[in-house]
Amino acid sequence: MTSSIQAATQPHSDPDPSGAAATEATLRRFLLGLPGVDKVGLEARAARLGTRSIKTTAKAAGIDLAIRMIDLTTLEGADTPGKVRSLCAKARRPDPSDPACPSTAAVCVYPDMVAVAKEQLVGSGVRVASVATAFPSGRASLEVKLADTAYAVAAGADEIDMVIDRGAFLSGRLSEVFEEIRAVKAACGSAHLKVILETGELAAYDNVRRASWLAMLAGADFIKTSTGKVSPAATLPVTLLMLEAVRDYTAQTGRKVGMKPAGGIRTSKDALKYLVTVNETLGEGWLDPDWFRFGASSLLNDLLLQRQKLASGRYSGPNYVTVD
């Protein structure tokens, strides 16, 4: 399991080879110089990608791929070791009636639940992702955020999902956001860093493109749309835009970055639209759990129901999949 994480980490590549973020001034100039986003055109393109008709063999392949890409998530104040253990069992074996059903990519929990999850998932290939940095608001001192990260890593997290400081970003303190991501990345050690932009709070698509680049230049391994605590969470246009940013960044730097929409993706049909968008924006190289994830909880059951339907030819119902 660790081999594929290491392969994806690319430790030797510099996230900012051209020095775009060398100073506050160069960083600002670079981000403001990125091409603008036409809202109408972006949303029209996303809607058209959503009209692709994915049937039969393509649907079966897409559903299995989507299951393998899920970060099965529980991020509640009421989370308990029992709830997390149950979720881990589901991540390992989502469909007890079908051993051929793949595991999810990871489970995603709060830092204090990492140790519990880690213990449950030993040897399963399912990774443990932990949110950190005063998730979901990010309103804490840098020391607290770094301690939060270090705690999760020490407990065994393979992946860290951090939030950016949206307040700093929106007030134009871009270097502050950049340096914070770098510091968290350093605190991650060998753990993978996903940077949550919370696109619902950035409001404008231009900001989403700038924040995507900012995070990638600072060394993000993944960029992620949302915490799931703010509405709107992931949307297809925002995901398309972030995938375009990944495509352009990779073309410019040679460093591959992953992408994770999170929150609000509940149906198989939606998941297939996202896969189509990945396929036609970044291509097959990103159709892999190492490079694309879904942050979701209820999505998994809909995928399982559709999967059962494809196999049996008839719809079952919610009582034929497990609650968690």
């Binding site: 091409p35 603008g36 055109g41 393109r45 994915i54 392949a61 036609e280």
Partner: protein, 477 residues
Amino acid sequence: MGIFEYAPAPESRAVVDIKPSYDLFIGGEFVPATGGVFKSVNPATEEVLAEIGLASDADVDRAVAAARTAYERVWSRMPGAERGKYLFRIARIIQERARELAVLESIDNGKPIRETRDVDVPLVAAHFFHYAGWADKLEYAGYGPNPRPLGVAAQVIPWNFPLLMLAWKIAPALACGNTVVLKPAETTPLTALLFAEICRQAELPAGVVNIVTGAGETGARLVAHPGVDKVAFTGSTAVGRSIARAVAGTDKKLTLELGGKAANIVFDDAPIDQAVEGIVDSIFFNQGQVCCAGSRLLVQESIQDELLDALRRRMGTLRLGDPLDKNTDVGAINSAEQLARITELTAAGEAEGAERWSPACELPAQGFWFAPTIFTNVSATHRIAREEIFGPVLSVLTFRTPDEAIAKANNTPYGLSAGVWTEKGSRILSMAKRLRAGVVWANTFNKFDPASPFGGYKESGYGREGGLQGLEAYLDV
């Protein structure tokens, strides 16, 4: 096979019932043609779809007479609100039978079902709804208290948007109180004949809409007929010229919507990803067989490489093939004749020294197909930069300043449409003012709306279709 290869997703043909042969639609009845028959072919497979009646001169006379009778006895006397009811009814039936119309249009024309389903047919219904609303409000259109219709309209439409062009012609004519004789294109008569059935289903009074099928001679006979009061034509500039000649000296009112060689102008501050989509929509929509297609890309020299790289990458994801597959982006060319013209002009482009590029793209063995193509290193003197290709072929030219862009964009005998891509609002407005084109799209392309007038400058024709302005062509004002 790839990780996520899209399986075939064909729309079912079962929804349409193509008859072995079709008659003319005159005076509310389907009547046999007396001029013989011709065949309509599926351009994606070369399969013969049906035999179509060829209207003789006598048939045209009968159709015009039927339209005259309906005009004088029924339609011109009917209150606008009553005419509106029929048009609303037609619009609703079009929506109800949308799938059938979309599938038949794809089969007869070769265009992808995605376009007929999502663009053509919804716009057709919208056009009828729009003009249905005008029928009882003509006195508020700005043409005086009681604007009168013209009489019988002779309408000749092209094969690129068979049903949409029918709607553009018939809806305003009927709303204003005219009756019509419409001749669909020789290669795409089937949806017009299905529309005739819809007229019967809507119980439209007999003779208000008449449809005569045939080739160029039928159309020539129709527009020259002394019994018509109004001629409306959409098609090539060459045919438009001969119609203008035929109509000259008569008191027939004429509108022409002809060819184009539109410039799509991309500035260095454009939203690049959306501009690339816009370029794709401007030239590969409907296989480029669009009179307002953005067939000349004018790109600011400083972003040429970046933009063309992005465009080539995007073209690599276009899916060419079965028009009825819901995932097809690029369908078949409408006819062997049109394919030959595209082939000839692109060969001329290469011979003149332009650089040709197409994505890897397998063309089906049967049918009429042409891969999406771009030409770079194109000079303003090349034929591919001047002549309308009417195919999925883009000629890329560059400019350095807004003035140069305007000069190059306007340096054409045509003036139908243009596109401007920039994030700067003031530049959009100044460009729109100086471009000699009937439609200027800003940060989009090939967007249509029934409320928006459409028509050209210079050799792209005269008169406007659509919206309030479109009423003028069918009123005695």
